[in-house]
Symmetry: C2
Subunit: 345 residues, 2 copies
């Protein structure tokens, strides 16, 4: 009898253990697949179906898809959102299509000056660089500033000295020469001269847009954001826009969202656009969509600024409001589904 | 009868007019005196009674009082908060006591590189400059960027080219030479060499603090904020801190507050300190005191950063929390009462 009781006690313990482990397995199985996502943009501005040839549109779509697939592979393999953001942006920086890296616009004196920033939503660490003339991938230097220095922001020749110290190869300014951007500079200068002679309003900014950015959520729930740009065509006086300004062009906080912006940089700085979207989520409990739309469609518009953002929250919800006629944008989700859009309608 | 009626109608009209004008006069008399205020800081850091001589303390107090009186005169005469902020900061920039303008610290290569920014709370317009080597009063150049260019931020030689175009006289780097700051650089370099040989922790930042800033409220209810700095002793790689970053070191919005910050710039950028204080007031209905204390005493401290802010709301309430042992700070109210404090206790 004692033996039987002891046996039955063992049997019950065993049965309970088995049941428990089965329940745990079930719980895991019931858990949805890991939510990760990558959202990118290639600039907001005047983009219309009338001026876009099918061949150009295909080139943009192909390059955006390549950037998305590059970041996706990292996220799928369990890599960090930071790695995904950096890798996706490098693809866009290496393409002449966008106003960042290779395709950067020209300044008033015929140089190229590049800015970028990156932020990690888990640690709130950030890195930013501005006024670079010899760095092929500004986004990667911004990341080195974040990870290999006690600083957040470095500018000009000093930032390039840091790059050399970190073993980053510098490129000649010739690397950034593209016929298309050079023509845009000449066109801008021509319009400027006409303007100063007959006081017509400033030229529209078609020739300037093409800033690139990415926001990502990795399998561990980590958010990251990055932005890279060549600034505006014909810029002078060491002008710096919102792209390298943490809180304006870029922000990431795991508790709220990751944001990358593109548009009239001055307005984005004055509003602190990226930081404001995060604040609306943190303090008002807004969704990422409500927060991003409030800042872009209401506040930015009220101030007279144009542009857009991509924003992603820690659950994988994204928003990409803009108040221009188009914004190059796309996302890839955990299933590998790619969506790319260009126009407003 | 008709004549009498007409007369009495006139009499009544006259009486009503007289009564109305008397009521208006009474209303004005009952209206409290115009609320205007100026708050300034001269940096937060390790300031102790033990290391401060009475003579040094007197010098700091005198210069802070001079800056306050300079701004007060403008506000009392009905001038703008922007003018008061700029004028008060110029007084501090022209003194060798503070790490801004004349008293700027030295970089690793023995140069001086100055940063500043300013913001107008009525229009949300802003101006910022960084990496200046030949500008006596960076705060005034920041204001020119805001008012005389379509841009918000200009850096380096480009910003100085803009200064020349605007008729601002450039000064030689010699202007910024002070024995005290030079010794601090030599000391920092010595400590750095010792550190690299025995891996001791980084040196404290006593030699770097002294950033200056001002926030003001004018008689029309307009808020403005400004900040100016030489950065950190022995800085390299074109490092830029929070002072010229709108949203980090400086922010102003008439609906909330004006803020100027001082401290570990990198932490202030990562948190977007100035913008965050404004957001806590805008979105959570916090008072300026609650908002500033939450960001400095809780958020900044949690991240490991040290420093402080001065913050002023549109009703003239101010706060100046800091988590260091001291912060040079003072205010002057509409009555001309001056309060200056240095230590925490």
């Amino acid at each position: 009898m004692t033996v039987w009781l002891r046996f039955s006690r063992h049997a019950i313990t065993l049965a309970v253990s088995l049941l428990a482990s089965r329940l745990i397995l079930l719980a895991f199985a019931a858990d949805p697949k890991p939510q990760f996502k990558l959202v990118i943009h290639g600039g907001a501005g005047t983009i219309s179906r009338q001026t876009m040839t099918p061949e150009m549109e295909r080139q943009y779509r192909d390059k955006l898809a390549e950037a998305l697939r590059t970041g996706y592979k990292i996220l799928k393999d369990g890599g960090s959102s930071l790695d995904a953001v950096e890798s996706a942006i490098r693809v866009l920086e290496d393409s002449p299509l966008f106003n960042a890296g290779k395709g950067a616009v020209f300044t008033n004196v015929g140089t190229n000056e590049l800015d970028a920033s990156v932020m990690d939503g888990a640690s709130l660490k950030a890195g930013a660089v501005a006024g670079l003339k010899h760095i092929k991938n500004p986004i990667s230097l911004a990341r080195l500033v974040m990870e290999k220095s006690p600083h957040v922001m470095m500018v000009g020749a000093g930032a390039e000295a840091f790059a050399r110290q970190q073993g980053v190869g510098l490129v000649s300014q010739k690397y950034f020469f593209t016929e298309r951007r050079w023509k845009q500079l000449l066109e801008a200068k021509k319009k400027e001269m006409q303007r100063s002679s007959n006081a017509s309003p400033p030229t529209p900014k078609e020739a300037s847009f093409g800033t690139v950015g990415a926001v990502a959520l990795d399998q561990r729930g980590g958010l990251a954001a990055g932005t890279s740009t060549g600034g505006v065509t014909n810029k002078r006086f060491g002008r710096v826009g919102d792209s390298p300004i943490i809180g304006a062009g870029t922000y990431a906080d795991n508790r709220t969202c990751a944001v990358s912006a593109t548009g009239d940089g001055e307005y984005f700085i004055r509003l602190g656009v990226a930081r404001d979207i995060s604040a609306l989520m943190e303090y008002k409990g807004k969704s990422v969509k409500e927060a991003a739309e409030t800042v872009i469609l209401e506040k930015l518009a009220a101030l007279g600024g144009t542009g857009g953002v991509i924003a992603l929250d820690a659950k994988g919800n994204h928003a990409w409001p803009f108040n221009t006629s188009g914004m190059y944008r796309g996302y890839i989700d955990a299933d590998g589904k790619i969506v790319i859009e260009i126009y407003k309608d």
